[in-house]
Amino acid sequence: MATAAVSPPQPHVKEYPTNGVWSWLATVDHKRIGMLYLVTALCWFAVGGLEAVIMRMQLQGPNGHVVSAETFNQLFTMHGTTMIFLVVMPLSAAFFNFLIPLQIGARDVAFPRLNAFSYWVFLFGSLFLNFSWIVGSAPNGGWFGYAPLTTLAFSPGLNIDFWLLGLQILGVSSLAAAFNFITTIINMRAPGMTLMRMPMFTWMSFVVQFLLVLAFPVITIALVFLQFDRFFGTTFYTPGAGGDPLLWQHLFWVFGHPEVYILILPAFGLVSEILPTFSRKPLFGYAVMVFSGILIAFLGFGVWAHHMFAVGMGPIADSLFAVSTMLIAIPTGVKIFNWIFTMWGGTIRFTVAMKYAIALVGLFVIGGISGVMHASPPADLQQTDTYFIVAHFHYVLVAGSLMGLWGGIYYYFPKITGRLLSEKIGNWHFWLNFIGVNLTFMPMHWSGLYGMPRRIYTYPTDQGWDLFNMMSSVGAYLQVVAGLFFAYNIIKSWRGGQIAGDNPWGAPSLEWSIPSPAPDYNFAQIPTVTSRYPLWDVASPAVPSDAISSGPLKTSRELGIPMPNPTIRPLFVALFLVLMFASLLLIHKDMFWVAIGGVITFALAMTLTLYSWLLTPLEDAH
């Protein structure tokens, strides 16, 4: 071949498969890893949704007999844990992976193999957590796992072990990914891509990575204490030995409240991409949007004790945490108004993505307002541990985060697959989902205010809760139907949807300047950025003309672009890491030394594989 003759001599050139199972197991391409996150998280969404539906069947009427009290405990624990750690966070991670390098004009993340490692740890960790269902002891202590309830004295089974080891594993995944994305955003921006020109999704993701880096170590330590209490007999959470029963709550919520913003800010970022595109207007108040995101994250570390008003911290602490909590409403309100002003006077196109974005703006306000209500300790004492709280956080997480993420999927599906999702089926999905979500969670405000406690597995008939529970259950079934439309849409459109083209929505940011689906090297030539909306900026187009897809795409080798080699090593390091944690389960099966032997064996295997990874060059010599 003529091109082979002119290409420089490459000593270690090796061909790697570009399709088939192996190409996915060994991939280090951020876009493929993003797709793996996306598909895995959607599968867990089905599982977490099923858990919710069983609970709604149980609570549909008084004196339900669908599941036992013990199973119900496992269901609400796993529903919460799954939706937070296996659905919303990895869905956000799917977008971090797929979008951040594309939006800042980079060819991959800073550490492509570490990125693969993050995904595999997440996958194996999520399988480990759900393996507990198969052995019949799924976690049953709530997603917050309050100690001392979760110590060995009160929770002797393997249930809590699965939960705490699973969370430790998932923490490793999130932290590794966060270091990676921080480095990517700081260090891999295209020329001219200053911080204040970054797309809002990248900005909000950047903020979230700092939250992850600072919040996850705290729960790691809280879990280490619990792990030591359960496995080695320490007394961190044993009140009889002087242990403080509030220690867990403080450590957990120092993590847990920033976690709330870890869940919502990526969705805020996606909405800030969708609204300008379909309003044909730049985002209103870009700089204020950036700073309000940073302020939300900053204040988010100073409000954790509002989850603990009921424990009686005293009037001074209560007042301080009440005020700091109410303060967060200001930057959040600023965002809401800026989104509305973005749409104001715009040329609005009501695509499904746009409908989801608008739904987030509208419905998040409901969850935000109920949030300000229980920021006040006297009101919170009435509402805490009732369905009012359940209504609140489902409005911010389902009507907030998930609406934004679904909108993001409709918006970015063409860039991911090259095909558009069907708008017709999408409209069925949206409207059924919109009605279902409100029908499920709006009545919970009333059942809560009428005194229905959270986490009860059944209730007597004369409480006045029957109608609201029936409405919530019907709403949940509607959400299932909506979910089926969504699944059908994804499968059908991925196979045979309308071909999208580079920029089907006329969007302004860099990811739309390259072909759909994006080639492995993303940008044939790294663009030079001169404004916040490069593709709307006629005066200084960021995209060189040869990057527009015409004719067959060139491979990275033809273009002489060095790309990281695929490798299976991160998968094995992740596997050994998870097996190392899993070995600890055997301690409670009276096999202490087998467990310790397992930990040592897998730790050694992990270290050796890690060395083999680190001593292998990232890419071929060039």
Binding site: A110, F111, T183, T234, A241, G242, P544
Partner: protein
């Protein structure tokens, strides 16, 4: 010709000019700060809350047996191990200097330019610190303080154990650099490999200063 517009396709320079690994290690250290902050806070919250001895700074009489347990912390010994760890940071600085200046005539053939010597010295100092810690843990167990004994034991062993695990990881890292240096010679070109290890090592040292002050010195 389209490819003519793309004459050179090596990696573009980083935005900040810093190596990716250096940015990442700073993010990692930020995270580690929160990790040790949680451990140290717990130790401080639980100070004086143990219902049975031994205690760190006070003696304790067992009400059942009348047996008196002495204050358990051995400050002179720990001061020595602290000194060794502080010296290791100095060796680390010298190791990095040796690698960065390897090609300069003033460094060639001198001790200052002998990077593998300084890397090994740092690793050995770290290992000595770990030896002191092993001695300390063993003697505490002999004196009746285990991780299960009381809140002090639980929080002390967990905090210092976590720090010790970090030192162990650092020693392994240093030995790895040492063997790379022996095998192919580390030079200014790959000084970042030593640089990030040095940042980690100094961080672990600083954490020990905090632990030594808050746990050992302040009673």
């Amino acid at each position: 010709m389209t490819t003519a517009a793309v004459p050179h396709q090596a990696h573009p320079p980083t935005t900040t000019g810093l190596d990716h690994r250096k940015v990442a290690i700073w993010a990692f250290i930020g995270s580690e700060c929160m990790l040790f902050a949680s451990l140290i806070s717990t130790y401080l919250i639980y100070k004086g809350k143990s219902v049975v001895g031994p205690f760190p700074h006070e003696s304790w009489t067992d009400p059942a047996t009348g047996h008196v347990l002495q204050p358990i912390l051995n400050i002179p010994v720990t001061s020595m191990s602290t000194f060794v760890l502080l010296m290791s940071s100095l060796f680390m600085v010298l190791a990095l200097e040796a690698v960065e200046n390897k090609n300069k005539p003033a460094y060639q053939g001198t001790l200052r330019g002998n990077s593998s010597f300084w890397l090994m010295a740092t690793a050995l100092a770290g290992a000595t610190f770990l030896g002191f810690q092993a001695f300390e843990f063993t003697s505490f167990v002999h004196e009746g303080l285990t991780i299960r004994r009381n809140l002090f034991g639980s929080s002390f062993f967990t905090l210092t154990g976590f720090h010790g695990a970090h030192v162990t990881a650092g020693v392994l890292w240093l030995l790895t650099l040492y063997s790379i240096d022996k095998k192919r010679g580390l030079g200014p070109k790959d000084a970042v490999l030593v640089d990030i290890c040095a940042l980690y090592w100094h961080f672990v040292d600083v954490v020990w200063i905090a632990i030594f002050t808050l746990v050992y010195l302040i009673s």
